[in-house]
Symmetry: C2
Subunit: 879 residues, 2 copies
């Protein structure tokens, strides 16, 4: 396989499909040249193969010869030679990975200029100023980008020169001064690197190519890939292209153009251009650009030609395109094109519009495929509308949406300030159930500790409230916090974006959350596509959340966590009474109080989800979660002393204390140790169902046993549930009882349950994969512990391709899920299968779950639209 391909190379497949090999930019240049026949300056692409070979074993053998051959071909096509003292060919060198990637080396222009060829350029263009300006630009660009020198080293002499010449704008600097500047720039390079500025264009080219290759592993590029989930082993391609100049004269110019508006999605051209300028000037924003429509008057023929190209591009790519172009002395050149990035609003509008396009159109399946999860997030939640002026830190993006408010450092303070009408951000090390009133009152939540399943994160997501958690750089001390050198006091305004994890000082302008009408259209189409293939449910723990989830299109509840019912302020004392009970009678009495409370909760949920399935998970967390911490009580004991009740709480907390609560007495194990607990919960649930029935409702109840490891365990628990159901139903007229629809199933969240799914299915009507815990146990990763420094190190070093808590680890955890599906269905072909871990809302994981044969996914209410879309995309992708 060759390492290099000319833009006009005849590939066997359309070049736009060869982005793996040619990178995105190279593929599109080849597509425009060899397929569309558009006016593209000739050039060639050095493939990603070459980059990977270089990164593994240094400069690849034979690459020099190939490049020399391509350069000769290019010289022939252009009728000029690189470094020619009379009429030099100049080239640009640009990186171009499969995915657009900031942080990598970007562009070196005017490569091929040296002390001799600059004269040739001056002669050929009869413009000495232009030639030396190009030369000094090239030296500084090469110095900065290829040699890694500080840009200021070049800015200073330029400013000096302007002062000396007594001029203000760059354009006024004369040719002589620019020639001198080129000389001093060369001295800067020699002084800083110990090597003279390379004069041989072949050396310049190789230096630039190596710089592109090397930049693949630059810190910013690596961090970007981690964030954007781009594999580290793709490598980048390099594009070498003949230069054209938009800065030759006033009959020249350069611009960027979109085939329609990337912000609103509106039809019609959109973009900016500059007369007599190079591309970098447009991007740099040094001069005020003109709107693209101004071309119509200024260069009517060019405008017409460009609009023709836009139409052809849209038709060819069947999507909105983003282009760069240059006009050199009246001739239009296309420098780049790609399918353009767009806002969420625009994505929705374009997708719908393009199904009704004249001339060409996309199908509804394609339209659904054009909208990404991020697009929906954008229209569902406010976001930062501008780059924050003073970014403080980045934490974990725990719950999407942006918020602005005054910082308060305790739930009480936050609630009090909100009472006064203030917009509040709650800032705290971590939250607990006792902080819930403050969290409700706040616009957003910022914590310095905890991971994406910490209390703050889980609760915020459930409410759709913006949250950034685990912001480790935030050091809270009393009523202020410091980040780096900045201190933020109570009442200072901060902004946070829970979709990006950014935290900023002061007020950042926010976009509005306003789903356009196309939102509904696209989701309707998505639902039609996935209907009967993959259902979407929501995780919701109370009536309002359930109602909210239904609004978002949830087709049932996949996970109702009953522990949240235990944590409410008015319930916790009862739960503690149950734990502290000295006699069975006391325990019974406490359980009875809880039953009454839980029943009311269940009635509300079943009502909100009438005629849709509601999966209720019996109590799961270890009991000490309902007790104060031992540390707290021991500290109080040592300092202020304890009340008698506190002494009892301390003893209980010590007795239930666990070294690794994640792997302790929780889930069905609690049921084994306190069987009355589960019976009480099922009684409350069934009584609620009966109440709904009697009110004319259609309750559909699924009782779920958590943390099963053996068939025997599930058999025992199933017995309790069935007995309690029979007990409640036994009192009913048969006619009513027959309408009750109750399934009994289990979470599959331990590796053992997955391995022994065949046995466990004997006792289960359904499985719901708890992929959070399954991931924790399969990897041995406690999410709260590893999600900070460890996960970052693992992702940056490529030890993990993805954070397995965000996207399911298909090879490991996913293998266990697939095995369990196979084992479970072998025993019970009609076994109902779903997932209720956080992965249920992740598009890539949803695709996996669809492929292994699950019946539904369940996620937080605010994530339901994304899951509906992703489910449809999974169906489309796996016909």
């Amino acid at each position: 396989m060759p390492y290099t391909y000319a833009f006009d190379h005849k590939h066997r497949r359309p070049p736009m499909e060869l982005k793996d090999l040619l990178g995105g930019k190279g593929a599109n240049l080849a597509e425009m040249t060899s397929v569309l026949g558009l006016p593209v300056p000739p050039g060639f692409t050095i493939s990603t193969d070459a980059c990977r070979a270089y990164l593994e074993g240094g400069w690849p053998e034979g690459l020099d010869a190939e490049i020399a051959r391509q350069v000769r071909k290019l010289e022939k096509a252009m009728g000029k030679r690189l470094g020619d003292a009379a009429d030099p060919l100049l080239v640009s060198v640009r990186s171009g990975a499969k995915f657009s990637m900031p942080g990598m080396m970007d562009t070196v222009l005017n490569l091929g200029l040296n002390d001799e060829s600059v004269k040739g350029l001056a002669d050929q263009t009869s413009d000495e100023r232009f030639a030396y300006d190009s030369y000094r630009r090239f030296i500084s660009m090469y110095g900065r980008i290829v040699l890694g020198l500080d840009g200021k080293l070049f800015d200073a002499p330029f400013e000096e020169a302007k002062q000396r010449s007594g001029v203000e704008s760059d354009a006024e600097v004369g040719a002589d001064v620019l020639r001198e500047l080129a000389e001093s720039y060369k001295r800067v390079v020699a002084d800083s690197t110990g090597q003279p500025f390379p004069q041989d264009p072949a050396d310049q080219l190789r230096g630039a190519i190596e710089a592109v290759f090397g930049s693949w592993n630059g810190a910013r590029a690596v961090a970007y890939r981690v964030r954007e989930r781009i594999p580290h082993d793709l490598g980048t391609a390099v594009n070498v292209q003949a230069m054209v100049f938009g800065n030759r004269d006033d009959n020249s110019g350069t611009g960027v153009g979109f085939t329609r508006d990337p912000a609103s999605g509106a039809q019609g051209e959109y973009g900016d251009f500059l007369v007599n300028a190079q591309g970098e000037d447009v991007v740099a924003g040094i001069r005020n650009t003109l709107p693209l429509s101004a071309l119509r008057d200024r260069f009517p023929a060019i405008f017409k030609e460009l609009m023709g190209i836009f139409a052809r591009l849209e038709e060819h790519y069947r999507d909105m395109c983003d282009t760069e172009f240059t006009i050199e002395q009246g001739k239009l050149w296309m420098l780049q094109t790609r399918v353009g990035k767009r806002t969420g609003r625009a994505a929705l509008r374009m997708a719908v519009d393009m199904t009704k396009q004249r001339g060409w159109k996309i199908t509804r399946e394609e339209a659904v495929g054009r909208v990404a999860a991020d697009h929906l997030d954008q229209v569902l939640h406010p976001q930062f509308a501008e780059k924050p002026a003073q970014l403080l830190t980045k934490g974990l993006a725990a719950s999407p949406g942006a918020a602005v408010g005054k910082a308060y450092f305790s739930a009480d303070d936050a609630a009090a300030a909100a009472e006064q009408g203030e917009a509040v951000i709650l800032v705290t090390s971590e939250t607990s159930p006792e902080d819930v009133h403050g969290m409700i009152a706040s616009q957003g939540i910022l914590t310095s500790r905890g991971g994406l399943v910490s209390h703050a994160a889980v609760v915020a997501r459930g409410w759709g409230k913006p949250a950034v958690v685990g912001a480790e750089a935030v050091r809270i001390s009393g009523r202020s916090f410091t980040v780096g050198g900045t201190t933020v006091h109570e009442g200072d305004v901060i902004s946070l974006d829970g979709g990006s994890g950014e935290v900023a000082l002061g007020e950042v302008r926010l976009t509005l959350a306003d789903p356009p009408e196309e939102f509904t259209t696209i989701l309707k189409w998505a639902d039609q596509i996935r209907k009967g293939r993959l259902a979407v449910r929501a995780n919701a723990d109370n009536g309002p959340d359930a109602a909210n989830a239904r609004q978002f299109g949830a087709e049932g509840i996949g996970l109702c966590r009953t522990e949240h019912m235990f944590l409410a302020d008015d319930r916790l004392p009862i739960v503690r009474r149950m734990i502290l009970a000295d006699t069975p009678a006391e325990e019974e009495a406490a359980l009875e109080e809880l039953r009454v409370a839980q029943k009311a909760d269940f009635v509300a949920i079943l009502e909100a989800m009438d005629n849709l399935p509601v999966t209720v998970r019996l109590l799961d967390p270890p009991l000490h979660e309902f007790l104060p911490s031992t540390e707290e009580l021991e500290l109080k004991k040592a300092t202020k002393g304890l009340t008698k009740q506190e002494e009892r709480l301390l003893a209980a907390a010590q007795s239930w204390h666990e070294f690794n609560p994640m792997l302790g007495t929780r889930g069905v194990r609690l049921g084994v140790i306190k069987p009355g607990l589960y019976a009480m919960q099922v009684r409350a649930l069934m009584q609620a169902a009966v109440e709904r029935l009697e009110a004319g409702g259609k309750p559909r109840v699924e009782v779920m046993i958590p943390l099963t490891v053996t068939r025997q365990e599930l058999g025992l628990a199933r017995g309790w549930v069935a007995d309690t159901v029979a007990e409640v139903v036994g009192d009913l007229p048969k006619r009513v009882a027959n309408k009750l629809d109750v399934l009994i199933g289990t979470m599959v969240e331990t590796p053992r349950a997955a391995v022994r799914a065949d046995e466990i299915a004997e006792e289960a009507d359904f499985f719901s994969f708890g992929t959070n815990d399954l991931t924790q146990m399969t990897f041995g990763f406690s999410r709260d512990d590893v999600e900070g420094r460890m996960m970052s190190a693992y992702l940056e070093q490529g030890l993990l391709k993805r954070n397995p808590f965000e996207t399911i680890d298909q090879g490991g955890v996913g293998q266990l899920v697939a095995d369990a599906v196979e084992g479970g269905r072998a025993t019970r072909p009609g076994l109902k299968l779903g997932v209720c871990g956080e992965h249920g809302g992740d598009p890539e994981s949803i695709d996996f779950f669809y492929r292994v044969g699950l019946d539904y996914v369940s996620c937080s209410p605010y994530r339901v639209p994304i899951a509906r879309l992703a489910a449809a995309q999974a169906v489309i992708a796996n016909p």
Copy 2:
């Protein structure tokens, strides 16, 4: 299938192989009757099928009819009828499960007596006193055992009667008094149960049979099965047998006999008998028994007959037998036989002796198969030689061996008392590395918290020191502890048995630990059998332990835990310096100090294990294990204040604190975050190897990476190791370097590593299964947290058949091991495979590991002989 079988039923297979169906007792009675033709009173067995059917669905249909048929057959054989007023047939009813099982209903004798038949018995025997004594014995036995009445209800009238009669011994009580006693016993039954004593023999029989069935699920029986790992679903058989009477006259008697001495294993008969007595009298120890040899003079013909039977039994069973017999008026009856229980010494001696028996002999394979792990434990460790007079509690049996000493409550106090020459037991809530001096000084260790992998347990096992841990009933308060109502003060003598978990007040006599010569013989034979099939290594962390392990026959080290090297008193401050380091230079300096210390440790280990493989696991535990606890420091901060150093320690402890340390930043994750750490350890190890080489030794080093989850991770770590090896070896002459034998491999201890073993094997020369952690993660069981109340509940309720930390869970964890073996060897056929979890010393698990194809097991040094034996047994069992 019938539910009942007469003893003379012609089974298709030898009855002794039908213990599943007939129970042990029934099978042996049938064997003696139908195969050996010995004089056995006729009878029949109600099978375990009937018991299981009864326990599931009540009294089985058709069973009554079958029993009636068997009774008629028995009546015909004996020429008597049950309940006959003239000449009644009497029967015994005995339980008999597959495995001998205390806690179940044992025996009801004389069944068939009632107000009428007692007269017939009196007439037939011409012995009214005998008849009424038999009747009143029957009523009280039935009352106690079948009806569950308190024995005291019957003792009181008897004592009264003796007082009234003015006699002292039972034998002096006359026939009239006994007749009255029978009447008052019947009143006791009627008063206590509200029902008259059953007069119909068929009712009596059914009652007794139901009582046997029901006793299968009695609390003591269940607890016994949990302890002895007997499945709960076997059920028991019931044996109904015609009575013979050893208490008819002085020409009668009863006894128990062993075909050789079950205590020493010496050849020749052994046992006790009583003239004119019933079996229960021998067992009850009411009268002084005569040695079996006395039969020779008293009943020479019977003695000769019995010795003939003994010889036939030994030849038939090819093992030592345990028998019960009765002489009724000069005729010998065999009531029971079974292969006899024996002490460890006896087991070893018999096994060796029987390979050289005249007439019949066993093979060496059989001899090896005859010795159990418990037998070796007995000869390797002292044990309680008597039942403790005052048992305080039972904790977890953490390290076998018994010890007696004075209780001390801190490591310092224990060490000081030991210094004064006292035998000491250290009693503490839990131990930490700072208590090691006190643990060394003690005879045994008792802790009130922690599981079988707690610090105390692990350290004690490594030293072969008796330990009972997690004795939750022990409440320590200052220098005393209470258990129930008893308080034990400092200096009070207590005894503990780390093999049974028993803790007793006062001195309990101990057996000596003294392996007889046959110990060596059996292990030599075992080694010959397993040679080349399954090797045995030891887990050892320092030179003396390694030397000790080699003495016990270890063929290398399967796990050298380098963290123990970090915990020594003189190392911990250096480790903390490393953790607290503010600059890379400080960290480097601390690592360098550690390197020097570790190198010396490695030299000692490699020397002790010269020319045998030594697997060194790089640092595994989370760093906070080397820091003081946050609770402790925070408490001190709140009360006394902290020094500056302590403030730093607190900050570090908080920063490294984890919610679930088991699933946190440990193992290779530490290496990723602090790569210098692993490089230092490998450098120390390789320098030690070089030193050994230069001293003429043959170091064989295996470097093991802990907690791997991905191939990438292992590839990275392998790189560090290989680089450091290359760096150290690079300085050596090639001739020397070539002699260095270094393998690089990984623990497989996360479910993910097992699932992705195919990939991971690409980077591994060997796998060592860490089945402790693998079990924890596969089940989601934190051993420290679940091993107390939860595990007990699970075993008692049959939710788990075995404690999966003691014997590997073949269906779940074992399936992952088997998958990993397959995956690993598919990638790398020569992959070396071992296990270094605690299961490596468990015989049943060893059998499993042999079957799935591991190359070696590794266990604590004191467990090595057991593992050698078990490995040979595995080879024999899986030809």
